[in-house]
């Protein structure tokens, strides 16, 4: 029976050319206009990734090196060897190299912003999730490093990482850079000791080269940005449309026929939910399919793309049921109308469909990610930049929760008999 509901809804929408034009034609036109008329506002220096990295340094490079030199001085070894070790120690500054040459490099700075955090605030920073990763250099790191490199003592010291699960992929990237740096640093020092090359410059070059290949993040083209922005915005119209269709069923007494056929409100709501979810999916697939052909917007991680699309469609499905319930409750089309004219506009603005509004302030950014279109837009854009699924998983989860929340609200709002007046 629910299959019959879905089939009926599909037929009704397809027969309504005007609506099909709005749901598919309008976004395509807007993508073209906004994507090309406004030019490449997203291009150029605009960073694709903007991982914030906290740098907590408990050690003191200079002081630890002094201590080490002092220790060498008091050692019972030939003067000649002492001189060599002390000279070498003077050129070893792992933290300075990491900060200035590796993270300070222009190409790395494009992706990562290092923020120095005093050790006293480490715990506080760990509570926040605005950092992709926290790099914690423990006390005595430089000293241990010198002992390891020059006296072949113990294992090399370790930098401690605290990674943010929501930004797992970015965090992993930073960790690899640092790990790689440590390994390269050892090799370079060994080479330097053998008098072959100058250490630090080479390391930075090597690590940065690796960084480039790892991030491969293309700056977004405007047309890509608006393909996502318009698609998620017009998906919302499916919800208000279905809500209006449902109200028309009530107004024309077709809904009475369903009541008389003992169709439960659960079945009715399920029909609405499935229809809207399916239609949103179809609409998104068509829009993304067409834009991938026309504007060469390619999705490399197809499974992740499917999952994000499905979760957005579920959210749209939930909204459709909620609007239906509110329309029935108020015995008018008000809820649908209000959503269509006011809410979609606000959602699209803060969600970033028209311009990256999240960059205006953290507050707008947060509100934006709470809208279904904003959340899914974030996820889509990240996927297009080559992020991993784990970096968008939280958006997917949010959209599913959003869907469940709207469904629960609908169950509460739907009139018991469906028919009180």
């Amino acid at each position: 029976m629910i299959g019959a509901f879905v089939k009926k809804q599909l037929l009704l929408l397809v027969r309504n050319r005007h609506e099909v034009l709005i749901l598919l034609g309008m976004p395509l036109v807007l993508i073209t206009i906004l994507g090309f008329a406004l030019g490449n506002i997203m291009d150029g220096d605009h960073a694709a990734v903007h991982a914030k990295v906290a740098f907590v340094n408990e050690g003191n490079e200079q002081q630890e090196r002094q201590t080490f030199i002092h220790e060498i001085d008091t050692m019972n070894i030939p003067q000649e060897k002492k001189q060599l070790l002390i000279e070498a120690a003077h050129s070893i500054a792992p933290i300075t190299v990491l900060k200035q040459d590796v993270f300070g490099d222009k190409s790395v700075k494009k992706y990562i912003r290092i923020i120095d955090v005093p050790p006293a605030q480490l715990e506080k920073v760990r509570q926040k999730d605005s950092y992709a990763v926290i790099i914690h250099v423990p006390d005595g790191f430089t000293h241990q490093m010198l002992e390891h490199l020059l006296l072949q003592k113990e294992a090399p010291p370790r930098i401690i990482f605290y990674t943010n699960e929501e930004k797992a992929w970015t965090a992993e990237m930073v960790r690899q850079i640092v790990d790689d740096f440590q390994r390269q640093y050892s090799i370079a020092t060994a080479l330097h000791k053998a008098g072959i090359t100058h250490a630090s410059a080479n390391i930075a070059a090597h690590v940065n080269g690796k960084m480039e290949t790892m991030t491969k993040k293309e700056p977004l083209r405007a047309v890509t940005y608006y393909t996502v922005g318009m698609s998620v915005m017009f998906a919302l119209y499916i919800a208000s449309n279905i809500g209006s269709y449902a109200f028309e069923e009530k107004r024309s007494h077709v809904f009475d026929r369903m009541l008389l056929a003992n169709v439960s409100r659960w079945a009715y709501m399920a029909g609405i939910f499935l229809s809207a979810t399916l239609l949103a999916c179809l609409q998104l697939f068509i829009l993304y399919g067409l834009t991938s052909v026309i504007y060469d917007i390619t999705w490399t991680d197809i499974p992740a793309f499917f999952v994000v699309t499905l979760s957005l469609s579920l959210a749209v499905g939930g909204l459709a049921v909620l609007l239906t319930a509110l329309n029935f409750r108020t015995n008018s089309e008000q809820a649908s109308r209000f959503f269509q004219t006011v809410l979609v506009t606000i959602f699209s603005l803060v969600g970033g469909s028209y311009f990256p509004a999240g960059q205006l302030s953290d507050f707008i950014s947060t509100i934006g990610t709470l809208t279904p279109n904003g959340a899914s837009m974030n996820a889509y854009l990240k996927l297009l930049q080559g992020y991993h699924f784990s970096d968008v998983a939280h958006s997917v989860i949010y959209l599913c929760l959003f869907s469940i929340a709207t469904l629960l609200l609908s169950i509460w709002a739907f009139p018991k008999r469906g028919n009180e007046s």
């Binding site: 007494h253 009475d256 369903m258 056929a261």
Partner: protein
């Protein structure tokens, strides 16, 4: 089979239905007659469990349906006053959908849809969109949608409003056939007297929320047995003549249309002599005088002092 007991519906301002009692026996066609706004549709909505009564009860096979409407709903086919159809779907798609919600599927659904299409005479037009249908075709489909699950009881709310005479006859014949061939019990609502007269075994007449008369067609007409309906045609309608008619206590319910005057008078009065006298006194030329057998229309006029359609 179905029974309304002291059924009442109070909307915010209006009492749409006021202590209505009626019943339907298996196999009957019962008429519910009344002018617009009489409360027919509201009564039907309560009978079919779509809206709850303010007070009173609806009983199906002696059991109250207020708490447990499922059994009645399964046995019920409703033809609503409004066209409860999808105008962007074809006739066949509509029927298939309404069949599905009655849990029909596969070959059974297919067969039922074809059968109903044939019954309502839309087999040839089954693939046309409803929005391209004439009023009569839409009305027929509106009826067809109520028949897919083979209801035992069919409730029709003014199923012939605003359609051509041909479609109207087709519908009336169809209702008769359903009753005769499938022993379907029918409650037929209308404000057309002649339809109810043609179809119904028994009739309820409703006005302003109340049942004002009930019985078999003949019983109801016998309400008028003590009176004649007289129709006269005058050459020229004059005020004094009308005035004189009104002044006669034995002449009641005078209605004027062009040069035709309709009235009721008791049988024992010699109405011919009286009319000639009045005509002579007021210089009015009588073209014709006709005594008519009473119609339900006359009954309504008699009961309420108003014509049915005004």
């Amino acid at each position: 089979m179905l029974e309304a007991v002291e059924l009442t519906k109070q909307f915010k301002q209006t009492k749409a239905v006021d202590r209505v009692n009626l019943y339907l026996e298996q196999g009957e066609i019962v008429g519910l007659l009344g002018p617009n706004g009489a409360g027919k549709s509201t009564t039907i909505s309560m009978l079919s469990t779509l809206i709850p009564p303010s007070s009173g009860d609806v009983r199906f096979h002696q059991k109250s349906t207020l708490k447990n409407p499922a059994m009645l709903r399964n046995a019920l086919g409703i033809v609503p006053q409004e066209l409860a159809l999808y105008s962007d779907l074809s006739a066949k798609e509509n029927l298939r959908f309404f069949g599905s919600i009655h849990r029909l599927s596969g070959a059974q659904l297919q067969k039922k849809v074809e059968e109903v299409l044939a019954l309502i005479g839309l087999t040839d037009r089954q693939n046309d969109l409803v929005k391209h249908f004439s009023g009569g075709m839409k009305r027929r489909l509106n009826i067809g949608a109520a028949l897919l699950h083979e209801p035992k009881l069919l409730i029709m709310d003014e199923p012939t409003v605003g359609i051509d005479p041909q479609s109207r006859n087709y519908i009336l014949e169809t209702v008769k056939r359903l009753n005769e061939e499938k022993q379907m019990t029918v409650l037929y609502t209308s404000h057309y007297m002649e339809e109810v007269e043609f179809l119904c075994d028994r009739i309820y007449i409703m006005d302003k929320g109340c049942i004002i008369a009930s019985g078999t067609t003949n019983e109801i007409k016998n309400i008028l047995s003590a009176e004649h309906t007289v129709e006269i045609k005058v050459e020229k309608l004059t005020e004094p003549f009308l005035h004189a008619l009104h002044a006669q206590p034995v002449i009641r319910h005078i209605a004027v249309q062009d040069r035709v005057i309709t009235m009721l008078s008791p049988k024992e009065v010699n109405i011919f002599r009286l009319l000639f006298q009045l005509a002579e006194q007021t210089d009015t030329v009588l073209m014709s005088i006709e005594m008519k057998t009473p119609t339900l229309e006359d009954v309504f006029l008699h009961l309420t002092g108003r014509a049915l359609r005004d």
